[in-house]
């Protein structure tokens, strides 16, 4: 009998959520990491959330994840993005104190009962009867476990590039998991080569702050987790704004031949939405300038993170080009920017449980599955944790619908469509985003967390009380009318008008809950979007009905006449579970779906 129920490989954002979830479910869990102090580290920018990403963090919180609480405790600058738009696309974002964040996460992980952190480097998987049975460490030791969750981030076969320099490693000063990458390749796991990058870091005291545009956080910010109180905890800081100049672009162009991206040293595919400075200059030559946010790294830290200056040009070029930006004329570099190339696992090889189809009991989560971003990684970690725990306890898999959570969109997109570049969440990826605003996250998801026993009873009770209050207030708003004479609309009708402020209704409703801002905003969001959401729900039902037909797991796509070879390849790679999932695979045409429907029906009869 194995000593451990589960072993989680990696202590990043995915690994921490997965390991903690497994432990909360009463499973004996080991988290193996190269270095204990690197747990919960923010490798790139010191910030959490954003549009789409912020939605994920709120959902994580409703399902018992830790990222929202850690961000709330360590945030130094909170902003609600898209505040002037509707609730569906408003996103919370914060700057966190980098050191404080990783300390907090490590504290939460180490304080989890039944979770043990082990230091070591994993070189391979132990297999027994085709199932994962633990891991093999570099140096020969083994850790036996009934399930393995691999959250290796960017460390598989990683190589860092600065100009012509190439160093093995997934993060400055850290190692590259070359053995593990080779092990997976030898097992026949299909890998992708991806790329990401990070900017240089500047010394706080070398920046001429007084010349720069200042950007304050929101005066009374909203936390990611509605359980966070008091909030905010840390003193708040400002960000600053500067821009690249014609001189920056000229320097980049003059040195392109020394950029590993353009000189051909890097063949990994980077994300289009987080372009390096080289990419910006080359691909958008008509843009004279690009904005750069100077983000504080922490309260005590001397480091400043210039968001928008990701580059892997040679060190001396980086130093020169930073100084072409207003306010940075005398800036000193503490660290240079670099690009990382790494191996990721083609996510079409895992099921919607994030379990590798070829090796049951082997789960993958985070950047190693082709995503980018802390929030996406954490979401996958939590999802893998839910599923691994349920499988170990003999329970049915954990699934959510695409109209129920961004988490479901993330997982479904990855396992169905695969990736060609690191995947980032956007609200536009969720076809039913009007149903997925941050206010309703607890209503949508808390019950799942409570059922699996990972959301504390007190928290779940608080959620229920808030939902009940919101229901009561909504009933009153629909029944009661504005005071006065003549045509008196219901309070709900009044509040539904664009721009109406729910706070103005305070004198009319003596509801203690309504005095809380998050409740007022929740109520307003429910009232304003009612009609659209109903339509969206109908649409979601229609799509669900149309796509409900199950596709047999062993359907031989190659034997279906009429399917093109390309379509057969894509279907075979993704192995969709339903016709609806097949419809979301790129290149699968309505004609191909017709053929699939017939094939599935034919099997049903046989």
């Amino acid at each position: 009998m194995a000593r451990w129920d589960a072993v989680v490989v990696g202590g990043g954002h995915a690994g921490c959520e997965a390991a903690r979830l497994l432990s909360l479910r009463g499973l004996c869990t080991a988290l193996v990491t190269d270095r204990r102090e690197a747990i919960g580290r923010m490798s790139c920018n010191p910030s959490v959330g954003g549009v789409g990403k912020g939605h994920l963090v709120r959902e994580l919180d409703a399902l018992g994840g830790l990222m929202g609480k850690a961000a709330d405790r360590t945030g130094t600058h909170f902003r609600l993005l898209n505040a002037s738009k509707g609730p569906a696309v408003q996103g919370l974002r914060c700057q966190s104190d980098r050191d404080c964040y990783s300390r907090t996460v490590r504290g939460l992980v180490e304080a989890t009962p039944g979770l043990e952190v082990l230091e070591g480097r994993v070189a391979g998987l132990l297999l027994a009867g085709g199932r994962a049975a633990g891991v093999v460490l570099e140096g020969g030791g083994t850790i036996e476990a009934r399930a393995v969750v691999l959250t290796a981030g960017t460390f598989l076969g990683a190589e860092m590039h600065v100009g012509e320099e190439r160093t093995p490693g997934g993060r400055t000063g850290e190692f590259a998991a070359a053995a593990l990458s080779n092990f997976l390749k030898n097992m026949g796991v299909a890998m992708l080569r991806l790329k990401t990058g990070t900017p240089c870091r500047l010394h706080r005291d070398s920046i001429r702050w007084e010349t720069l545009e200042r950007q304050e956080g929101d005066p009374s910010p909203e936390p990611f987790s509605l359980q966070s109180a008091p909030f905010p905890v840390l003193p708040q800081m400002a960000c600053h704004l500067t821009r690249t100049t014609a001189a920056t672009a000229a320097l980049v162009r003059a040195n392109l031949h020394r950029s590993p991206l353009y000189a051909g040293a890097i063949r990994g595919v980077g994300p289009r939405y987080c372009p390096s400075l080289e990419d910006k200059v080359v691909r958008f030559p008509h843009h004279e300038t690009h904005q750069v946010f100077l983000e504080p790294d922490g309260l005590e830290s001397e480091e400043v993170y210039p968001n928008g200056l990701s580059t892997s040009l040679p060190r001396e070029v980086q130093e020169a080009l930073v100084r072409t930006l207003p306010g940075l004329e005398e800036a000193r570099l503490l660290r240079h920017g670099y690009a990382v190339e790494y191996d990721a696992v083609d996510p079409r090889q895992v099921t919607a449980s994030l379990e590798c189809r070829a090796f049951p009991g082997f789960y993958l989560a985070g950047q190693v599955l082709g995503t980018t971003g802390y929030e996406e990684a954490a979401a996958l970690g939590l999802w893998a944790g839910y599923n691994a725990a349920r499988a170990l306890r003999g329970e049915p898999p954990f699934r959510l619908r695409r109209d129920e959570a961004y988490l479901a969109v993330l997982v479904d997109d990855l396992v169905t469509r695969g990736v060609t570049e690191p995947y980032r969440m956007f609200t536009s990826r969720a076809e039913h985003r009007l149903l997925l605003d941050r206010h309703s996250a607890y209503r949508r998801l808390s019950a799942y967390g409570e059922a699996d026993g990972v959301v504390p009873a007190a928290e779940a009770a608080e959620v229920r009380d808030r939902e009940a209050a919101v229901e009561r207030i909504l009933r009153r708003l629909r029944a009661e009318r504005l005071p006065g004479t003549g045509e008196r609309p219901t309070l709900a009708a009044w509040l539904a008008r664009p721009g109406a402020d729910p706070a103005e209704l305070l004198p009319l409703l003596s509801e203690p809950a309504f005095e809380r801002r998050e409740v007022r905003e929740y109520v307003a969001s429910e009232v304003k979007g009612e009609g659209y959401r109903e339509r969206e729900r109908q649409e979601a039902r229609r799509i669900a009905r149309a796509g409900a037909t199950a596709l047999p797991a062993d359907l031989a796509y190659g034997a279906i006449p009429g399917l093109s070879r390309e379509v057969v390849e894509r279907l075979t790679a993704a192995r969709p579970e339903t016709l609806g999932q097949a419809a979301r695979i790129p290149g699968v045409t309505p004609a191909a779906l017709t053929l699939l429907r017939v094939a599935a029906a034919g099997r049903g009869r046989a």
């Binding site: 549009v51 789409g52 993005l81 898209n82 002037s84 738009k85 509707g86 569906a88 696309v89 289009r272 939405y273 987080c274 372009p275 910006k280 691909r283 958008f284 843009h287 690009h290 904005q291 946010f293 968001n307 928008g308 956007f426 609200t427 536009s428 076809e431 985003r433 009007l434 008008r497 664009p498 721009g499 979007g529 659209y532 339509r535 969206e536 006449p561 009429g562 093109s564 979301r584 790129p586 290149g587 045409t589 309505p590 004609a591 017709t594 053929l595 017939v598």
Partner: protein
């Protein structure tokens, strides 16, 4: 939906006696059938795809049935994209039936109407509008119809719809980019496409309007024959049809119900409606008939008002003229063979004088009807849309207008985008294909997004 598997067999030439008849096979197995049923003299069709080869057509037992030609198309270079074969044989129905029976005996299945086009669609050989055009074409009864719904017109529709979808995606990409990357908003300024949506909606509207006006081309212009009892409506109806369709008697009130028949006038489909004569009814059945006739006239595209020249323009006729004046195509004086009129139609009413007995004036009336029908058609290219296409285009337009209205009412883009997604879905449906990634390609091609 027909099963997309198996080998199809069907006669490709119209049924009936002709000098040459074609039997077509499609699907895996077509080649095996061709080998079994054709004995080449010289070149074998399977060695020379796409080439007509002479030989003997035989049944499954090897008994010769006919001398003929055969041609083989290897997949995917064929109309359906599948393995195909065709036999050209002599025009005897017996041979064709025997050949089809032999194919079925060897495993082929008789094709349903349009099934070859359906296979072509499934195999990516035809777009949905193209496939529909092939089907529509086979149902066309007049030359003008064929031009307006044939492959040429369908390609035009596909092209335009693809263009609209493209522009719609541009609008959506620019809105989505601003929603998902608010911190890059300054960089996105200038991406504004004011009026792009209004322009799109206007173009969709123009097409829909033209399609609406061309609609009679599909179902025929409906022309009601109205007039007092015994004014010769049924006789004129039969005369224009050139056959005895309606019962004609000297007794007023013989026609009780509305009967309709289609006639081809100079390539235009016209549906004639024979109605009951309008008078104080003699019994409840006639009353019902009169009411139905008037209702048919009100719903028709046009009305011919008939009056008996030998009786003159009476009050009943005048009353009917006033009721139906908006729809009036012509006033027709009947029984011209009975001598000069007893009284004239009022000035300003386009009049014709016909005799159903001698045929006098009939050709002129038919020409007038055709000219009237042609005048109602939209100028420029004719496009006949089926119900599916019409409703998809109407939905796309409704959704574009809906999105504009939401923005005008102060709603934010994500709500309006719900409508634009519906518009896109409608255009995708029209074209029979969609690709969710297309939007992202556009966002990242057009905008430099960094944070």
């Amino acid at each position: 939906m027909p099963d997309p598997r198996g080998t199809l067999v069907a006669e490709a030439t119209p049924p009936g006696r002709g000098s040459l008849r074609v039997v077509r096979l499609s699907g895996e197995g077509a080649l095996a059938l061709l080998r079994a049923l054709f004995e080449p003299e010289g070149f074998a069709p399977w060695d020379h795809p796409r080439r007509l080869c002479l030989g003997t057509i035989q049944d499954q037992a090897g008994t010769a049935m006919d001398e003929g030609l055969a041609v083989y198309f290897a997949a995917p270079a064929s109309f359906t994209g599948e393995e195909m074969a065709e036999f050209q044989c002599h025009g005897s129905p017996g041979v064709v039936e025997a050949l089809k029976a032999a194919c079925v005996a060897l495993g082929a299945r008789p094709a349903l109407p349009g099934e070859f086009s359906f296979r072509a669609f499934l195999n990516g050989k035809l777009s949905l509008p193209d496939a529909e055009a092939v089907q529509a074409l086979t149902a066309c009864e007049t030359a003008l119809q064929a031009r307006a719904c044939g492959p040429e017109a369908a390609r035009g529709l596909s092209r335009r719809a693809a263009g609209w979808r493209d522009r719609l995606l541009d609008v959506m990409a620019s809105w989505e980019a601003r929603l998902d990357f608010p911190e890059d908003a300054p960089a996105l300024a200038g991406a504004e496409r004011a009026g792009a949506l209004a322009e799109l909606s206007a173009e969709l509207g123009e097409l829909l309007e033209a399609a609406g006006r061309a609609r009679p081309l599909r179902r025929g212009w409906r022309v009601a024959l109205c007039g007092p009892p015994n004014s010769g409506k049924s006789s004129l109806f039969n005369a224009l049809l050139q056959r005895e369709r309606a019962l004609v008697t000297p007794h007023p009130g013989t026609t009780r119900d509305v009967i309709e028949e289609a006639v081809d006038l100079e390539g235009l489909p016209v549906v004639l409606l024979d109605t009951a004569g309008v008078r104080a009814p003699g019994d409840p059945v006639e009353a019902l008939g009169i009411e139905r006739g008037l209702a048919a006239a009100r719903e028709a595209d046009g009305v011919l008002l008939l009056w008996d020249g030998s009786r003159g323009w009476d009050e009943e006729t005048q009353r009917l003229l006033e009721t139906l004046s908006e729809k009036l195509v012509a006033a027709v004086e009947t029984r011209a063979d009975l001598g000069p009129s007893a009284g004239d139609a009022p000035a300003g009413v386009p009049g014709f004088r016909v005799s159903n007995t001698t045929g006098e004036g009939l050709a002129a009336l038919a020409a007038h009807l055709a000219a009237w029908a042609r005048r109602t058609l939209p100028a420029g290219g004719l496009l006949l849309l089926n119900d599916r296409q019409l409703s998809a285009l109407a939905e796309a337009r409704r959704a574009c207008d809906g999105a504009e209205a939401l923005l005008a009412a102060g709603e934010s883009e994500e709500v309006a985008l719900q409508e634009l997604r519906a518009a896109r879905r409608a255009l995708d449906d029209l074209l029979g294909g969609s690709d969710p990634e297309a939007l992202y390609d556009r966002v990242f091609r057009a905008f430099c997004i960094g944070k």
